[in-house]
């Protein structure tokens, strides 16, 4: 059981590192840098939701950016068009994202491998298409502007710590989720679905629950993003959102959870850096994807880990 203990210790170390690094950041950085750190936290949560499916269930989703964006849309629509409270809006956003995830999941459990990727891609893009065309509700390409955050978390620092608290709580829940017997079953499905099925596990039911649960986490990230960004447009649900989330998970190392924080930090800092000099972020993102796929499909953490193992 020593490996289990060390795995728990490693995860505890991850928690402490995230808490210390992100907890002390506001004391030492400018308000602009703090907003970047805030964005990193939100996207790390999105990346983790993708990582649960990719790393533990062996299913690469390109639809979670859309689930994320649906939640953002619901929160902004509820607060600015309908005039409701932001708290209720966040709750609604997460609920709607989870329900849509359940619908996606009902189809997605039928397929695996590359078909899973195609299906989630198509479903996500349908969401994008609807957001783009359904102008009477979504405002089309112009998007919808929010009404700002509630007073309690109106200041950037307060919102930053609120985000940190929520993301840490969600990280803990995800960690519990993947380490539970349920999570172990998912890993079994990843390694051999047919064997798990013959052992009597309901693989479809497991995949359905896993997909829906990750949709919930993507929804939480989307609701936080609504409060953070205060604006939503079809670009929030577009494919590049899913692609960025997936790239973050991959760069951080698939199946590492805490790697998502590293991946999110790398991508978002790079995006801000590149955007300061050129408008060609999409091209940089594409090139990064190509380079990662050719040279480091295990991600930064994964590649480091492999190098370490090789040295031993």
């Amino acid at each position: 059981m020593s490996s289990t203990v060390s795995a728990i210790q490693r995860s505890a170390l991850g928690f402490v590192l995230v808490l210390v690094i992100f907890g002390t950041l506001p004391l030492v950085v400018s308000s602009y840098q703090m907003s970047i750190a805030n964005e990193i936290l939100i996207f790390a949560l999105l990346a983790m939701s993708i990582d649960v499916l990719a790393g533990y269930a062996g299913r690469t989703s390109l639809g979670h950016g859309a689930l994320f964006g649906i939640s953002t849309y619901v929160v902004i629509y509820w607060t600015s068009v309908y005039g409701g409270s932001a708290w209720v809006g966040c709750l609604l956003g997460v609920v709607v994202a989870t329900l849509v995830a359940a619908i996606f999941a009902a189809f997605a459990v039928r397929v695996s491998g590359v078909y899973f990727l195609l299906l989630t891609l198509a479903l996500g893009m349908i969401v994008w298409g609807v957001c783009l065309r359904w102008t009477s509700i979504t405002g089309g390409e112009n998007g919808i502007r929010g009404v700002g955050r509630p007073d309690l978390i109106a200041s950037p620092t307060a919102f930053y710590y609120a985000t940190l608290a929520v993301v840490l709580l969600m990280t803990f829940l995800i960690w519990r989720f993947v380490r539970s017997p349920f999570g172990l079953t998912l890993r079994g499905i990843r390694d051999s679905e047919s064997r798990m099925r013959s052992l009597g596990y309901g693989t479809s039911a497991h995949m359905f629950v896993a997909f829906t649960v990750t949709g919930f986490f993507a929804g939480v990230a989307g609701a936080l993003y609504a409060l953070f960004n205060n604006f939503v447009s079809p670009s929030t649900v577009q494919l590049s959102q899913s692609v960025e989330g997936l790239l973050m998970a991959i760069i951080g190392g698939i199946g590492t959870l805490f790697g998502s924080f590293i991946g999110a930090a790398a991508i978002i800092m790079l995006e801000n850096f590149v955007s300061a000099y050129t408008a060609r972020w999409q091209m940089v993102l594409g090139v990064m994807f190509i380079v990662t796929m050719i040279f480091a499909p295990q991600g930064i953490l994964g590649t480091l880990r492999m190098l370490l193992i090789r040295k031993r």
Binding site: F107, L118, L119, P297
Partner: protein, 285 residues
Amino acid sequence: MASLNLVQILNGLTLAALLFIVASGFTLIFGLLRIVNLAHGALYLFGGYIGYSVTLGTGNFVLGLVASMLFVAFLGLIIDQGLLRFVRGFVLREVLLTLGVAFVLNDIALVIWGGDTFSVQIPAMLRGAVRFAGIYYPTYRLFVLGLGILVFIALWLLLNRTRLGALIRAGVDDAEMVEAMGINIRRVFLATSMLGASLAGLGGTIGGAFLTLYPTADSEILVFSLAIVIIGGSGSLVGAAVGALLVGMLNTIGQVMFPELAYFVIFGPMAAILAFRPLGLFGRA
């Protein structure tokens, strides 16, 4: 709620013809090379822009068609030989790599042609409308319909009546076995991937003349192509045709009945097919 009339049915059929041209290339590559080329939409858009520029520069539509097909086939060659060869055999890495290629191509197109909407110039011969059965219908759209049928016949003949076609079909079933018989399957793969890409380029120019070209057109075409392949099954020409007809008609019906949610309508058949035949109507494991 308006009911369908002949014009709308024809609109659906012509859209289906275009979608078939694009999706047939997609499904061929998917079926034979097992590569889901997510850059297919970007190739469509790139082909469309090339066709637009060449047609504008030379005043010759046919030249635009040929140029877009050749150029996009060349792009397909570069993607296959320059990038995909490094990740051969890793399905997921291949797919995600083509996704990266799509982002790069789209951004290059944005740099070269900007964000404006363009429309490929239609040759004088195909302008105007034809009168039949009491309606006026644009000649160009009928041309697209004819071309779609022509491409179907040509591809069918290629696949079923030529040596290359026999090799492709054999490759879809069992690539290793074909190789074991002393045939260089890599060359067949390359030919298929260039053929598939050139069909995307052809579609771009054809579609660019009536659907117009703009920076997100590639995503819309890619969703349609994905839906068609999911419905029809990978590697099946007939599947692509049936899928294109379904998606084209449903999209048109959707636009007539609920204009803002037309996109949503293709969701239905996809869901139904997945529920009963996860590999698509004509797909084989």
